[in-house]
């Protein structure tokens, strides 16, 4: 555990990507199995121990530290695991520290009853850095500036294998990845995943920004406002994965018995309706889809009221053949052929947007405002399907955002790097004429769109304009206007205003603007999609 803790600390303080890769690669080379496999899991997808939650740690500490002092400390530090690692009263003569594998074994067998005693014993065996590493590992999600991709790249670098191969095998394997290490480090045969219904990494797009492309080389499709999914059938089983590779099959059981052949397809998951693309588009707003997301079980009524379908974008594997090296245009042909064999109730194909030239396409894009479509996708006709975001192949060309002026109402401390700043802002619009005494109603929340320098100023504004405190939340005197950018706005019960924005971010801070000049709810209401 000491080496792992030292690695975590070194990663926390390392800015350079290359240095992070070097540190992880070195650890993976020098550490025996299965410790390194568990460490790799912790750094990439994270481990899950159901008995150990952030609240478990909090309760554990509350038994040993005064609750008020705990809360003040936690608020300042901004991270439960770190606060606990700093406050844990270490015994005078700590027993020998556990190895990573021993810690994982002990964490795995903990249950709600035993966790208090067992986790305490484990913490007693570690120093402050060790406790931090253990608690981070135990609660999943290290949040130390290492992405899953970076960890895999470091693995590839450590053993001189291709990272794309690592990605390909990854989702068919489980921690501590014995087969992966056997293949990469010992030269054994690669893991066999052909007959497993595993997730294949998505191809992603770059923002188009100022680039202009020739439509002879690029095809355009609408960027639909649902969630990107991958439907996989292999080895007699079908599974549905979200963009991050999470298995969401249970939430959408209607797709589990519907592909007639072994295949891996890429598409947008939508709910039937007529908001996106009008009658012809046949898709409801994102809001409708949201009713279906995150459910563990699905009622028949849900299935009937919010019928989901997949709008197909691409095909990766088809009847045992890997289509990914082939050009997009060829895959598109295969996809169309496949789509014609699939039931219309559950599938359609994302149609190609026809335009005479780029200028014409630009006009079509402008006109898409009402359609609650996110914008356009541009795909190079000869592009293979490559995992990740590769420059020059796929572009996303989002619509320009909508803008309204809102008033800052509440602020909350951020997490991670921003933990000591008030960086999460709730803002509102006027429910009528402010000069006649109208109230502000919250319409959204944002924590991005500003620079670090802005953040400091905003933090100072919140501190010196607080009128009320509710735990970690500060209510401000409502004197500051934000110009808020967002992609669309929908009806929602989440806010008192009955409205919710999609992707709100702070576009500009209007230090100059008097709050009564901010926009009204009715203005926002006219922007509702569809």
């Amino acid at each position: 555990m000491e080496e792992f803790a030292a690695l975590i600390d070194a990663l926390v303080y390392t800015r350079s990507r290359n240095e992070k890769l070097r540190l992880i690669a070195e650890y993976l080379r020098l550490t025996p199995d299965p410790d390194r496999g568990w460490a790799l899991a912790a750094l990439s997808d994270g481990l899950d121990f159901p008995a150990v939650k952030s609240s478990t740690i909090r309760n554990l500490l509350m038994d040993r530290v005064d609750p008020v002092l705990w809360t003040l400390s936690r608020d300042f530090v901004g991270d439960t695991a770190e606060t606990a690692s700093l406050l844990w009263p270490a015994p005078d003569t700590p027993p020998a520290p556990p190895s990573v594998s021993e810690a994982v074994e002990l964490l795995t067998v903990m249950n709600r009853k035993s966790v208090v005693a067992e986790l305490s014993k484990l913490l007693d065996r570690l120093d402050s850095s060790g406790r931090y590493a253990l608690l981070k590992l135990a609660t999943g999600g290290m949040r130390i500036g290492v992405s899953s991709r970076l960890a895999k790249t470091a693995f590839a670098q450590a053993f001189e294998v291709a990272v794309d191969d690592v990605e390909e095998y990854w989702h068919g394997l489980a921690p501590p990845y014995a087969e992966l290490f056997a293949w990469a480090a010992e030269g054994d045969a690669p893991p066999d995943i052909e007959n497993l219904p595993t997730f294949r990494p998505f191809m992603l797009a770059h923002p188009l920004e100022e680039t202009v492309v020739d439509l002879a080389d690029y095809a355009a499709e609408w960027k639909w406002d649902g969630i990107r999914v991958q439907l996989v059938r292999a080895g007699g089983e079908t599974r549905l994965f979200s963009r991050s590779g999470d298995d969401i099959s249970a939430t959408f059981p209607e797709f589990l018995d519907i592909l007639p052949v072994n295949a891996v397809v890429d598409g947008e998951l939508l709910v039937r309706g007529n908001t996106q693309g009008g009658e012809a588009g046949g898709a409801a707003s994102f809001n409708a889809l949201q009713q279906r997301l995150g459910r563990k079980t699905v009622s028949n009524k849900m299935l009937k009221d919010y019928p989901a379908f997949i709008r197909l974008y691409d095909v990766l594997l088809l009847e045992g053949e890997d289509m990914r090296p082939r050009p997009w245009s060829e895959r598109r042909g295969q996809l169309e052929a496949l789509a014609s064999r699939l039931p219309d109730s559950h599938f359609d194909i994302s149609s190609v947007v026809e335009a005479t030239d780029f200028e014409h396409l630009s006009q079509i894009r402008e006109g898409s405002r009402d359609d609650a479509i996110e914008g356009l996708m541009l795909k190079r006709r000869d592009s293979p399907y490559i995992a990740g975001r590769r420059v020059g192949y796929w572009y996303k060309w989002k619509r320009d955002p909508l803008l309204v002026d809102c008033v800052l109402m509440y602020a909350q401390r951020g997490s991670g790097k921003r933990s000591s700043f008030f960086s999460d802002y709730t803002f509102g619009c006027w429910d009528g004429d402010p000069d006649l005494g109208a109230d502000l109603l919250p319409v959204g929340k944002a924590y991005s769109g500003f620079t670090d320098a802005d953040l400091k100023k905003l933090d100072r504004h919140v501190r010196s304009n607080t009128v009320n405190r509710f735990g970690p939340v500060r209510e401000t005197d409502k004197s500051l206007v934000f110009e808020v950018a967002f992609d669309s706005v929908h009806e929602s019960k989440r806010h008192k205003s009955g409205l919710a924005m999609r992707f709100p971010r702070i576009h500009r801070i209007r230090w100059d603007k008097p709050p009564h000049e901010a926009d009204r709810i009715e203005t926002l209401r006219t922007l509702i999609a569809g």
Binding site: Y13, F76, D79, E82, G145, K417
Partner: protein, 334 residues
Amino acid sequence: MAAPFSWIKPEPHGIYIEPADCWVDPSRAVDRALVTHGHADHARGGHGQTVATPATLAIMDLRYNTREGATAVGYGETIRLKGGVDATYIPAGHVLGSAQILLEHAGERVIVTGDYKRRADPTCPPFEVTACDIFITEATFGLPVFCHPPIEEEMTKLLDRLAAHPDRCVLVGAYALGKAQRVIAELRAAGHNQPIYLHGAMEKMCRLYEEHGVDMGELRLVMDYSKEDIRGHIVVCPPSALNDRWSRRLPDPITAMASGWMRVRQRARQRNVELPLVISDHADWGELTRTIKEVDAQENWITHGREDALLRWCQLHQRRARALALVGYEDEDD
């Protein structure tokens, strides 16, 4: 007969001593000021009369270019103010010249600590525990998460990192008054006898420390040397220069920062620090609570930092305490 302690008034801009018409560490210019130490949030320019230790006056002179109306009081010395108030300057162990001020009037004793620490510091005499009725304490690191490790451990961390990268340099961000000189003196105590390179803004204060008898070995200015010369050496700069263009003239610097805030990982990350050194000139939680116990005053007034937590500790330990809402104190990069 006036109510007990009614002669001492915590006001937003400082502690006001009414019979003497005099302020302690006022955050704006006043006619008469008693100053605990030279940090900018305690020592401001422009007072009519300033009473401080000789070293603090020298520091203020360097910063504000003013000697007018300065009255020097040495450690252990008492000065009689108007209205029958005596002020005694007692070592606070914070930085060169730093003092607690003991105020006595009508048989009542009040101590204003200014900033202080309880660890040994080669650049100033140690904090002296002194009995009093009201103890006005700072609380910069007034949270139980703050526990400054022994400075020797941090020096070892620094020297190990330097040795591991002979082709680079370690750039240490350290507060220009106090921290920088203490780090240099501690490096010397740890046996590091290589020249240490300084950012230009550090030079005058280091010279002032030398004039006050603190030996810092060979100091060189970065601007006088080439990248090659600096390779494998330690460079000390103010925290504000750590991520500034200035550091581009250095050979691939490893960014370090010497501060009590470095105990919290996210704080170090916010400053883009690669090598956090937990070194502070303020008392940590253990020192603060120990000092309150040892001084054992009737009442503790808490200011300058995280008052809430220390107030809570006093409650839990049945000690009378209140938080003062003084403005103008900053979390020094300390």
